[in-house]
Point group: C2
Chain length 330, copies 2
Amino acid sequence: MTSTYDVAGLGNAIVDVLAPADDAFLLKHNIAKGVMTLIDEFRADQLLKVLEKGVEAAGGSAANTMAGLASLGGSGVYVGKVKRDRLGESFSRSMKDTGLRFAVPMADGGASTACCLIAVSPDGQRSMSTYLGASRELTPADIDEADIAASSVIYVEGYLWDAPEPKAAIKKAMAAAKKAERKVAFTLSDPFCVSRWRDEFRALLTSDIDILFANEEESKALFEVENFDDVLQALQVWNGTAAITRSEKGCVVVRGSEVHVIDAVAVKQVVDTTGAGDQFAAAFLFGFTHGKSLSDCGRLGCLAAAEVISHYGARPETSLKDLARKAGLL
Amino acid sequence: MTSTYDVAGLGNAIVDVLAPADDAFLLKHNIAKGVMTLIDEFRADQLLKVLEKGVEAAGGSAANTMAGLASLGGSGVYVGKVKRDRLGESFSRSMKDTGLRFAVPMADGGASTACCLIAVSPDGQRSMSTYLGASRELTPADIDEADIAASSVIYVEGYLWDAPEPKAAIKKAMAAAKKAERKVAFTLSDPFCVSRWRDEFRALLTSDIDILFANEEESKALFEVENFDDVLQALQVWNGTAAITRSEKGCVVVRGSEVHVIDAVAVKQVVDTTGAGDQFAAAFLFGFTHGKSLSDCGRLGCLAAAEVISHYGARPETSLKDLARKAGLL
């Protein structure tokens, strides 16, 4: 069945706000250095006011992935919830600028658009304060079954599982994808997220997921094992395709007895690892929806990850399409 | 069928002679710094005289492996040729000290016992001058078919393929092993060795080899590919067991659709990588001949490699048996 879109991506729609901040600033505003803290709306408002020189950029894991897909020349739909406020308009504009379809109606009331306030220290450390706001209000009504059915793959961010309405929305989207005989891809998102939802994620593996994305820590958390090889053994008996990223060790791609061990692409300097997993998934899915072999999908993923860790920010700054062509992968 | 020995190892019997040497010494004696050079008997005699303060230690790749096997409590036979001269006696004594059987008759004439003269610079670099001497004179008559038939596995060093008589000896040993329904293990030894004998080694894969040891470069040379994943794909369709070492990336063990990706064991400091592959093979074969799973064989291999690269010298300095027990692998 032909499809209109390569990928429909579902995730928390978040605007990143980056601002320089010294230790005195972090201390004054009670921001824990170098970690990610979830915050409420009141605190988000406070911090947004003091970070007035912040640079805004659309973020969110699956949204970053979709932007990477667009950078490769892929087509897609993004599904995530923002409010009709300044940050929501900014997020919406940036998604549409990439050429992706983004048609989820903005909320007119309720929580503000999600934001991740990133204080960047002079030493390069990033202290993140995340307010999930409107992104948690994605509901089944926001799922356009026709868009899902028109996409070769739907790609779901595990983070969404943390709130009841987005979880119901995911279930509706997965059902629509299955009905249209589309593939369901899922990213585990975070080892803590896996700990919270391990049993449900493992049930999803059996019932719904065709393609699993995870980094090494997340995959170990999923199967509750300590050695990577035990992850590999569990994946080999699972009836799906898994792509596990391993930082400087590259990735391992598994589909039953088919196993690929792909080396990382060398980078001159690792500047900021934010977005590595998101861009890996982007390029892997581009390859997957364009008839590439699993090993080439893995290579494309490693190439995109290498680009994004070479600079600040979670989205590509160079055309991934050009990079992939130069590497002989397209 | 029960066996008397775990492994019969065939290789070049070489005595290492290590001596400190500064740059002026290297220059005076025309020794190329940091590399391995093959030398003739005349030059070996000359250098042995000037390196009179050298420390002698039995070496040779398969001999190192057999010493590692003994350190794990394994039993074995070593097959290699020395002359009845001072170094030959020294080699023979050191092999017997490990508890291994070493019954190949010493040559009474011909070339001197092989030696590898290792000049160790103050900066830690090792400049090696290797004289193969008597080790190249291993003949089919030196192969005791009863010893081979009494060993669960025979382990053959690819380096032996470089001379006609040792090659004939290997063929006889492999035939004896096959007849007794024993396993044939083979190490590719060196990327240059693989380049010289690629077609014959690939034919051996089909006809004789049950267990292949190689490092990443050797395996790429064997299959003439540039990516490790292409090696993996070639090994998955081969009808045997392969253990490929990847330095800091650990190892990958393959038997058809069974694939294990095993991480390297962390070491405080890499002092000298000599013997890493030899000790990996030792511990892998110990596991293999003691009913361990392929993944545990790989883990044992990585553990032994980590021990030997933590100090100078190609043989274990700590009991590998104790290490393996502490790691819960025995």
